[in-house]
């Protein structure tokens, strides 16, 4: 069965290694992903901050396209896109009038029946046994699993993992031989979309996350969100300046960590694209 794939804009640009590693991993696990044809941006923080109707319409077009192209399920690796698409589906399911109006705005029938999965849900649903059987090189490191905000909250909409102390990523990392640590910043915000407009705030918030990672001796941070990744990785000089110390801990997408355990080449997983060198692996 083919699953629809919604990469979103970050995965086509600054976070292309997330795209590369999701696709490489899906291939290794025999999951057939097919990109939703002619998808558009979900609108992200910008749309819901200034225009509610727009913030529902942009994701609704994506969901409507997926329906028309015959997908029953779609995978959305970016936590922000996953959140916007899920929120739209939730809100439109509560309100028939709104659903009708949005359908008219996008000029397409919209039903709201597509199941939206993040990458962790995809792996949980289809691949845990396969991953276990295909491990060739256990990922034997102490890791801090960083969920951030949008993967788990709001629970009412996403119904995914525990809000305060989520476990899904931790158990997947244990499965591939890693040791996930207990730490305090699992779901604290990295500063998200303020990376350009208020870099000072991102340095502080991401700095607090990285300080806890470093103090507790984690050897890698594992993420499933391109914004968490770019803030913790590309903003490391600003983070180091804020903390007054050089933090060397690399940040990996969960798809890269699992890919490495399955013996996929680091280059195929895009590890060379990180700013903070992944030299322990």
């Amino acid at each position: 069965m083919k699953i629809g794939f919604y990469p979103g804009c970050s995965l086509k640009g600054t976070s292309r290694e997330y795209n590369e590693s999701v696709l490489a991993l899906a291939k290794a696990l025999d999951i057939q992903l097919e990109e939703i044809d002619d998808w558009n941006c979900c609108g992200a923080t910008a749309a819901h901050s200034v225009n509610k109707e727009l913030s529902l319409s942009l994701p609704a077009r994506v969901l409507a396209l997926a329906e028309h192209q015959g997908f029953k399920e779609i995978v959305v690796p970016c936590a922000a896109c996953y959140n916007r698409l899920s929120t739209t589906q939730y809100e439109l399911a509560q309100d028939e009038e709104k659903k009708k109006k949005v359908s008219e705005i996008i000029g397409m029938p919209y039903d709201g029946s597509v199941k939206i999965l993040n990458v962790l849900q995809m792996l949980q649903k289809y691949s845990l046994d396969t991953i276990k059987s295909k491990i060739v090189k256990p990922f034997a490191y102490k890791v801090a699993c960083y969920y951030g905000c949008l993967l788990v909250r709001p629970h009412k909409v996403l119904q995914f993992d525990r809000v305060e102390d989520p476990q899904v990523m931790d158990s997947m990392m244990s499965l591939i031989g890693a040791t996930p640590i207990d730490w305090a910043f699992k779901t604290e915000c990295c500063g998200g979309g303020f990376t350009e407009s208020r870099t000072d705030i991102v340095a502080k918030l991401s700095g607090n996350v990285m300080k806890d990672v470093n103090d507790r001796g984690a050897e890698a941070v594992i993420v499933a969100c391109p914004m968490c990744h770019s803030n913790l990785d590309m903003r490391r000089p600003e983070i180091d300046k804020y903390l007054g110390e050089d933090v060397k801990v690399p940040v990996l997408y969960i798809t890269q960590a699992i890919g490495l355990a399955l013996g996929i080449e680091p280059e195929t997983l895009g590890l060379q694209r990180h700013f903070v060198k992944v030299n322990t692996i």
Binding site: R16, N40, S49, L54, G191, F194, R198
Partner: protein, 181 residues
């Protein structure tokens, strides 16, 4: 009193489904808010101001820095014992603040970023990052910000030189024109 038709709190409830009167000021939202210390009014104070239902207080909120500093991390609503959807309220207040031209000057860069972002989506259907940054610099005149990042991003293959356009741009244009305020 506060739920009488035509009152400010009634109007808020009608627009957003959120009844600020349900908040009993436990302060959990502000305790967990990563942005509270940057804000002029922390989240529980925003709700408190709105609970009075006066135009003067609503104005304070619409002119505040807080509504723009909120990152919509959803921590507050996750912890609120009354499940008051503060992030959605913040969305509504931001949109209204812009429509009434009451936005706080300290939020200019944040608002400029949102506008640059949406301009990119309007013209290509996607977020085109290079275009976004150029547009943001032009709006804010922060011309030298992040210039050092560019060579490194290039060597890591993280910059896309040309925007990838949505094929059906007609439908994107339609979405923007039909939702235009």
């Amino acid at each position: 009193m506060e739920n009488i038709s035509g009152s400010i709190t009634y109007d808020l409830r009608k627009q957003t489904g959120i009844d600020v009167g349900r908040c009993y000021q436990c302060g959990k939202c502000s305790a967990g808010c990563v942005q509270a210390e940057e804000m002029d009014y922390p989240p529980n104070m925003i709700i408190h101001l709105l609970q009075y239902g006066t135009q003067a207080n609503l104005d304070k909120v619409l002119r505040s820095k807080s509504i723009w500093l909120c990152l919509n991390c959803e921590n507050c609503v996750g912890r609120c014992p009354m499940e008051i959807d503060i992030p959605s309220l913040m969305d509504y207040l931001r949109e209204r603040s812009l429509n009434e031209k009451k936005q706080n000057k300290a939020a200019n860069d944040i608002i400029a970023f949102h506008k640059s972002f949406l301009d990119s989506v309007r013209s290509t259907g996607h977020l085109y990052e290079v275009g976004l940054v150029a547009d943001f610099k032009a709006r804010t005149l922060h011309l030298w910000q992040d210039v050092k990042l560019v060579p490194k991003m290039l060597s890591k293959g993280k910059l896309q030189f040309f925007p990838e356009m949505v094929k059906d741009m007609h439908s994107i244009k339609g979405i923007f024109s039909k939702t235009k305020k």
